[in-house]
Symmetry: C2
Subunit: 207 residues, 2 copies
DNA sequence: GTTAGAATGGACCGGCCAGTCCAGTCCTCC
DNA sequence: GGAGGACTGGACTGGCCGGTCCATTCTAAC
């Protein structure tokens, strides 16, 4: 679904555009949105000012939006193998490990939150990207909980949407605290506690 | 503990300084850190450039740090009446309501996260403010859980620190999702789920 | 009432950086 | 092979904004 806006791009152009987005994402992750200039992106990607504006005629903001989209896709892609089949407690724990690992590796640079906080609310485009990301994420968590129910590991009476929303909030909170404190302690606690409570809700059916 | 750095301030000076911090906090809450200039602060607070630098010789960053401290105090102060005695389930629910109410009123402008994300990691001072805020918050939550245990509403075997950390993460996550989506749904879900699970851990002792 | 120093006003500066422009090169399609 | 358009290079500009400076007024203490 890259769509029509890239219609007039040559293969070469496409490559350059991608190079710009990926390079910009790197720089942004390293030094943060606030202090990153187009010149930083330019020198990192080996491009000229005119190229930046050739591929992003609407300027810096449009480039940042493109980077936000790129990063949002990566968030889901990274977890997809685990998120896709959360149908056993083992799978949930593997997902937990993957999340912790990813964010620990990422350290205190969360590209999404930084990008969002920066262009955030005023720009509807960015908000849409974040909302969509969260929606997909929560949907997958909900599907996982339903899978547990289907497998008899959780009672059907459980409020799936609430549980999925809470779990998503726990992850987000853990990450955001990690960004502030530099420690993944809360992220781990939130995930462990969340899964633990879910298992407790499953009662004696726990394997 | 306002301390020695304000030693040479006249009463008038003290008032001006406070006016600057509070006015700056307002502006920042309204339009965000990224786009706020010293001139905005100046005109809002009815001060001159030289006043700003008279009271904050280290410039804009120092002013932002002062605002961060101010806002951090407000966060705790707002919840203190509820946070201080979380010794019954009713108290927990009242706290929940207070948190939801506060953040809903605040809308999508979280001064703390915005400030932190902006000057954040590089500046050790800001990080210290956030870390301290989170520490106090979690400490109070932990005290509340222990109070529940003391009142026989929760089993002593419960891992207090983990539960408190998870609860804090849930709140933070709910808020940060609210900042992104504009909806308090996740904040509510996270709090409700968290308290619900806590009560469930209390077993039949639930009133 | 005088004086030291705090408080204030506001003009000014200088760097930074997003965005412009034009000149030149490289595709690609006919 | 040539023409149109995509692609690239890089000099240039214009505004914005943090920070400086000095002149003036106010405050408080003796």
């Amino acid at each position: 679904m890259p769509g029509p806006q890239t219609a007039r791009l040559t293969a070469k152009g496409e490559a350059t555009r991608r190079r710009i987005v990926e390079g910009a994402a790197e720089v942004l992750r390293e030094q943060g949105v606030a202090v990153t200039t187009l010149d930083d992106v330019r020198s990192r990607t080996g491009t000229s000012k005119s190229q930046l504006f050739h591929y992003f005629p609407d300027g810096k903001e449009a480039l940042l939006l493109a980077v936000a989209r790129y990063e949002a896709d990566r968030v889901i892609d990274d977890q997809m193998p685990h998120l896709a089949r959360l149908d056993s407690w083992e799978a949930w724990h593997r997902w937990r490990d993957a999340v912790v690992e990813r964010y620990e590796a990422q350290g205190d640079h969360c590209p999404m939150s930084a990008l969002f906080l920066h262009i955030g609310r005023q720009h509807p485009g960015t908000r849409a990207v974040v909302v969509e990301l969260l929606r997909r994420w929560q949907e997958d968590l909900g599907a996982g909980i339903r899978a547990l129910q289907a497998n008899g590991l959780l009672p059907p009476s459980l409020d799936v949407d609430q549980a999925a929303a809470a779990m998503l909030a726990a992850v987000q909170g853990g990450v955001s605290i990690m960004l502030s404190t530099g420690s993944s302690l809360h992220l781990r606690a939130a995930l462990d506690w969340g899964i633990l409570q879910l298992r407790a809700a499953g009662g004696a059916a726990v394997a």
